[in-house]
Symmetry: none
Subunit: 213 residues, 4 copies
DNA sequence: AATGAATGAGCATTCATTCAT
DNA sequence: TATGAATGAATGCTCATTCAT
């Protein structure tokens, strides 16, 4: 069960990207229900019929779009996983990378956020399950290793700490890209913090450093 | 601009609660778009016409419902704010209370979660701002005070730490009530943790204790 | 599984009939697929939404319409069944009645004809099965009785002769109401016959008289 | 106005037949409206574009298909017309031939049946007129001749009797090939009759013999 | 000549909202 | 005040037809 029809893989990359980007933006901004196929078609400069030549239906188009968006996020995480530095250095690298990514691709983060309230069937065919599994594994393994080398204390549950860690990372991303979370961030910290990645990184690391060591 | 018409305040409390509870459940389970006024009317045993006698439109009804739900959460937070104990004891109290609340009122937590992707800005900048403001204030003040008494170290930004703290609290609640977050929690920690409040409390406190002291 | 919702039974008879008549005409003239709900709504002077308040969907609306039409035909047949006259007198009565009915309600006959090529599920929920069963029973019983009284010869299969008889009746009705069959009738007999019920009755009876006696 | 473009006459017979057979089957099984050009193209292993190179549009394609199907039926009738035997012997020959044909080519009979409810008048007044004219002429002439030789009684209208005769023939064919008429036949006579050509022939002849002589 | 991607009008159906009773 | 029938714009999706390659 592919997420798009063969036709979609054959069209010029430029057009393909245009369609996906329009769809990402629409779904991210309005959610699944408030996004209309006709709007996507119009904004992408193609016909409604074409969309149905490319995708089985609205739902699989959404899946495809989510898949694309999440793949990019997944890649980023994978690329960060390998570095074998100190856990806090690694944390800083990750935070900076995630924030940079959020600022650059707010639509993808919004889309991710939309996912959290979507009740599309079967956890979106496992797409979102996978990205969560990837981060879960990366963070848990990193913490476990750090426990072995003595960099992280022994009396904690690596999986649970990984979970808390990811929650913080996720929230920071939402806080820079999604309206509700942005507003909320602002209420807590005022304008300055919300715009200064340095402040965010510095304070978050302080929080984590203590928690881990 | 009131969230319900005068008529709604006049009807018997029993009926009022019935309507609000049905609406909360529907909006929480299906989201704003997938909830229909006719369904709410039918399940609440009243007519569609009545709903429009009570509320201006679907959007303000949603606002009202969110307002009601959030008020209950707000009250809980306020009640926890006063206790003047040690900050970590307080944290434990709060976590236990929030988890208990989530388990008991998953609908309200789901509703809260729905809010985060809703773009009904009229009240986004109203109701939800207030609840965030309340927790922001409580946590920030608590941390500031603890800094004064020396219970929390001096080199941190109270507002930002309050933000991180609340993120963790919010996520724990989502993780016990909302499908996506539940699944995600499970991926990280497996079945055992998701069902044991004690484990959650204990590990989370370890995380916080180190971070604060 | 009723063919219309309760709402439809509550509206004024005048309106009810108007809607059904428009629907009968549309379905009869254009067939199921070429009839659009929006057209029916417009021609009946009601809104599309109302149609869906009255009927579950297009298919059940069609069933209802067929049911209504066939009931009227069924009643006619039942009313003709009782008379205990000579079989040929009875045949004449029936032919005259059916022709009169066809001339007066060509839409219903057209609708019946549409049925014969419709592949709507389960033989249209048995609706059409019933009308066929009614005529089958009436004709077969009549022939059997006539065999007992010696009015019809003994060496024939009553059910099969009833079948041939009904075929002829049905064709005569189609030939007066449905375009294709009208044209065909004309090709065979020219203008005169197609318009003269007397000629049709007289010649058909000659045909039957010989066949039966 | 030819029913297909010149191109269609130039392609290899094998391909031509494949296309026509697929189209006949699709139109016969699903009716005009429920048959899609894309389906025909796919099942025939050609492109949609080709179909439009061969036929002006869906309607003329249908016409062509009907024409092909009816021609085959027409040929059969013509071949039966010449034999100069006794009228009842001829009738038996015809019935047996028509039944055999129906059992062998149910698609063509279904298609013929579809024609009766189609309102594509352009060709209704063309193709189908011709086949009806052919049988009308054959049957009428046969009866007239039989009247001259004294084989059929004098006091009947040959054209009208030919019409009744053809109705019976047509119905027998429909009763062996088309769902609605099959079901109806079964209701009248039960399983045995519907499957036994001998019984059908024998009883029908009894019916006709008396009517004619 | 053959292809099949592209088009867009058209259809069944839903649902927030109104209003006569 | 309460009702629920009526409305009609909007949506997802289909499919005959066209046309660039």
């Amino acid at each position: 069960m592919p997420l798009c029809k063969a036709t979609f893989d054959k069209i010029p990359k430029e057009k393909r990207d245009r369609i996906l980007n329009v769809a990402i933006k629409e779904f991210a901004d309005n959610g699944f229900e408030n996004t209309s196929i006709q709007q996507i078609a119009k904004k992408a400069g193609i016909s409604v019929g074409s969309i149905y030549k490319y995708f089985e239906n609205k739902e699989t188009m959404f899946s495809m779009v989510v898949h694309e968006g999440m793949s990019s996020l997944e890649e980023l995480l994978m690329s960060l996983a390998d570095s074998s530095e100190d856990i806090l250095v690694k944390a800083e690298t990750i935070i900076r990378a995630l924030l940079k990514y959020s600022r650059k691709n707010p639509e993808l983060i919004k889309l991710y956020c939309q996912l959290t309230t979507s009740d599309k069937s079967e956890f979106l065919n496992g797409i979102s399950q996978r990205i969560e599994a990837v981060s879960a594994s990366i963070y848990t393994v990193t913490i476990s290793k750090a426990q072995e080398t003595g960099d992280v204390r022994d009396d904690i549950n690596p999986a649970f700490f990984a979970f808390l860690l990811d929650n913080i990372f996720m929230m920071l991303q939402f806080a820079t890209a999604c309206d509700y979370y942005k507003e909320r961030f602002f209420i807590y910290t005022g304008k300055q913090a919300t715009e200064s990645d340095d402040l965010i990184v510095q304070q978050t690391l302080k929080f984590l450093k203590a928690a881990f060591e």
